[in-house]
């Protein structure tokens, strides 16, 4: 089977969609430049034309709104925000318009727009080039939120997002781009039926994450295995609407729960996972209090020295697990 990395898996999703669906177009800033979006969109405009891969004025708000409007008119647009931080200019189009359109108009029109938003941090970029705001979007009914963590999901969940009739926030993380894996042929998944999946089977503790946090969990699980601790890792994949059944099943077995999240701790998605699981567990099911590893409640620092502590490493997770279940 072909080995691919996460970044080029995204590229192959764009290829697949633009090739097979004439109503798909892509719009966003930096799409004709090689460095805004890494290796995920290389030469698409040369292959499919600048009318279908549209680089835009510096106008996140209008471009996102335009994509929402185009989706109401029968197109399947993908808006690309090379950094989530800048996408905040487009909050009205995302939260007030796209997410509520179907509901407030009686389910008669659906903005099937995909908003691809990239978490792009580290490298001393600081507070405004770093944010992972998936928890905000997962709070909004009507907006599907997708965070692929594996190479295959990077491609297949993007395809599923674009083919879905609802607005979708697809969030990828540049720290995942170099991850390599076998890539089977593309498939068209029904996004509405996708659920969290068990990526590693284990018996001592359940570790849950999404996006890059999920990769960290897998890396920590490998280290813990060497220390005789068997970890079950669950990759959330779809944050909204969020279905916790798979996680609950796992926690009933392992009786320990740790959540990893690349957003801030307070009010973060880690809290939603723990709440939804604990609400449905029998009393005294857990051997230890549920725990989480997420970012400190502070904006990202710039200095390399501070950054090292600020972001989560697999070692942080290993340490947390050992402290938790020892």
């Amino acid at each position: 089977m072909e080995k691919r990395n996460y970044g080029t898996a995204i590229l192959s999703a764009f290829d697949y969609l633009l090739e097979n669906y004439p109503e798909v177009f892509v719009i966003g800033q930096g799409l004709w430049s090689p460095w805004y979006v890494g290796n995920t969109m290389t030469d698409l405009e040369k292959k499919f034309g600048v009318d279908r891969v549209i680089d835009t004025p510096v106008s996140e708000s209008a471009c996102t709104g335009a994509a929402v409007g185009a989706s109401l008119a029968g197109m399947r647009p993908i808006v690309v925000h090379p950094r989530m931080d800048f996408m905040l200019y487009a909050m009205d189009a995302i939260v007030n318009q796209a997410s509520k359109w179907s509901h407030m108009l009686g389910g008669q029109a659906h903005p099937g727009v995909t908003i691809r938003s990239i978490i792009n941090r580290g490298g001393e970029q600081g507070a405004q080039h770093s944010q992972a705001l998936h928890a905000w979007f997962a709070h909004v009914p009507g907006l599907r939120v997708v965070m692929p963590s594996t190479v295959a999901d990077a491609r297949d969940l993007l395809i599923a997002s674009v083919l879905c009739k609802d607005p979708v926030m697809y969030i990828d993380d540049r720290w995942l781009y170099d991850q390599e894996d076998d890539l089977p042929d593309a498939i068209e998944l029904d996004l509405a039926t996708q659920r969290p999946v068990v990526s590693i089977i284990g018996s001592d503790i359940t570790i849950v994450g999404s996006g890059h946090a999920s990769l960290l969990a897998r890396q920590a699980a490998e280290q813990l295995e060497g220390k005789g601790i068997s970890v079950e890792v669950i990759d959330v994949r779809i944050l909204n609407p969020f279905y916790a059944e798979e996680i609950i099943k796992s926690v009933k077995k392992t009786k320990n729960l740790l959540v990893i999240d690349s957003g801030w701790t307070s009010g973060g998605f880690s809290a939603e996972i723990i709440a939804k699981v604990v609400e449905q567990l029998p009393v005294n099911c857990l051997n230890n209090p549920p725990a989480r590893v997420a970012l400190p409640d502070a904006p990202a620092p710039t200095s390399r020295f501070l950054e090292r502590d600020y972001y989560i490493s697999p070692n942080d997770i290993v340490e947390k697990v050992i402290n938790l279940i020892k």
Partner: protein
């Protein structure tokens, strides 16, 4: 003739009957009937809101009917029209079904938005009305995107955004002007300049009352028109829409008008005290677009008083019937709140 905004915004000007010489009588009649239908529908809404039968806010546009009516004569059902909080006229000018508007405002499942939207969230895509929402300027970029889609789909459809003079103070409107121009999108920006944003007169909000200056800044051809002269609106819209459909890119129309009611609900005086005086309201009522057209038509013998009152009486009766029917219609079912969140649940 080039219009002057200071003159257009002076309520003591432009009160005479409008010039209808050589104009198609059938079209005049159609526009008059459409305007009267919208006016009477809104008057009923004002009355029932005052009576307490309507639970939510209604933003009435009485006095501004000529704008939507003049423009809609040139629209086709495959165009993509977007409105805002004050959009009853925008919808009714495309689809005169006041029964479904009443049902919607009453939150009934037979309404335009199946009772999920009320007065501020309306849709009727079959007639080209893609939607209206109350976030000021929220749909302007959506309309540009729908226009861009029309171009990609190689149709001759256009996008239309109704925008108030207050909405142009939102940044996204300027982004949208620029994007529409740079994309050469088939897009009509309709500026309804009624001189007020809620309670604030334009002189307290902007250094110039003329919104068209932003069209100029973005290289978008525009016309400044008396928004209370339905024939002038019709003619300007015809020129603009013809250009847009033939691929010449976006156009902007600025139509100066005035609303008879306050910002929201039935009172006409809630805005008085800033710059709006009762004298102004009275003067603007003398510039009533319906009055001016019907007077011109009566003067020319295109319409008789007898005809006019027969039409009014029949409409009053139909409105009564529609209101009572809507009152007896069912509310959405219990499941509706969760049912419409995602498409799969339908």
């Amino acid at each position: 003739m080039k219009n002057d905004l200071n003159k257009l915004s002076n309520p003591e000007e432009f009160q005479s009957p409008i010039d209808i010489e050589g104009f198609d009588v059938e079209v005049l009649m159609r526009m008059l009937e459409s305007m009267v239908l919208i006016r009477k529908t809104e008057q009923r809404l004002a009355l029932e809101r005052m009576n307490g039968l309507i639970g939510g806010p209604v933003h009435l546009g009485a006095g501004q009917e000529a704008i939507a009516v003049g423009i809609s004569q040139h629209l086709q059902s495959t165009d993509r029209v977007f409105g805002a909080h004050r959009s009853h006229s925008h919808l009714l000018a495309l689809n005169p079904d006041f029964y479904r508007l009443f049902a919607e405002v009453l939150g009934k499942s037979t309404g335009f938005s199946k009772g999920m939207g009320g007065s501020m969230h309306l849709v009727d895509q079959a007639s080209g009305f893609y939607g209206s929402v109350p976030i000021v300027a929220g749909t302007v970029a959506l309309a540009v995107g729908a226009a861009m889609a029309a171009k990609m789909q190689k149709t001759n459809d256009i996008g239309v955004a109704y925008i108030g003079d207050g909405a142009v103070e939102e940044g996204v409107v300027h982004e949208s002007f620029n994007l529409a121009k740079i994309q050469n999108a088939p897009m009509l920006f309709v500026i309804e300049n009624n001189l007020f944003a809620s309670h604030m007169h334009i002189s307290l909000r902007q250094p110039s009352p003329m919104i068209s200056r932003f069209a100029e800044a973005n290289g978008i051809p525009f016309e400044l028109v008396d928004g209370n002269d339905v024939v002038a609106v019709f003619d300007a819209a015809k020129r603009a829409i013809c250009d847009i459909r033939s691929g010449k890119g976006p156009r902007l129309l600025e139509l100066v008008s005035y609303r008879f009611y306050g910002h929201v609900d039935w009172r006409d005086d809630v805005d008085v005290g800033v710059e709006r005086s009762l004298d102004d309201i009275e003067n603007w009522k003398a510039r009533d677009p319906i009055l001016r057209l019907s007077k011109s038509m009566l003067d020319c013998g295109f319409l008789s008083e007898c005809q006019e009152s027969a039409f009014d009486q029949k409409l009053d009766k139909d409105i009564d019937k529609a209101w009572n029917r809507a009152m007896n219609d069912p509310y959405p079912s219990d499941e509706a709140t969760l049912k419409y969140v995602y498409s799969e649940e339908n």
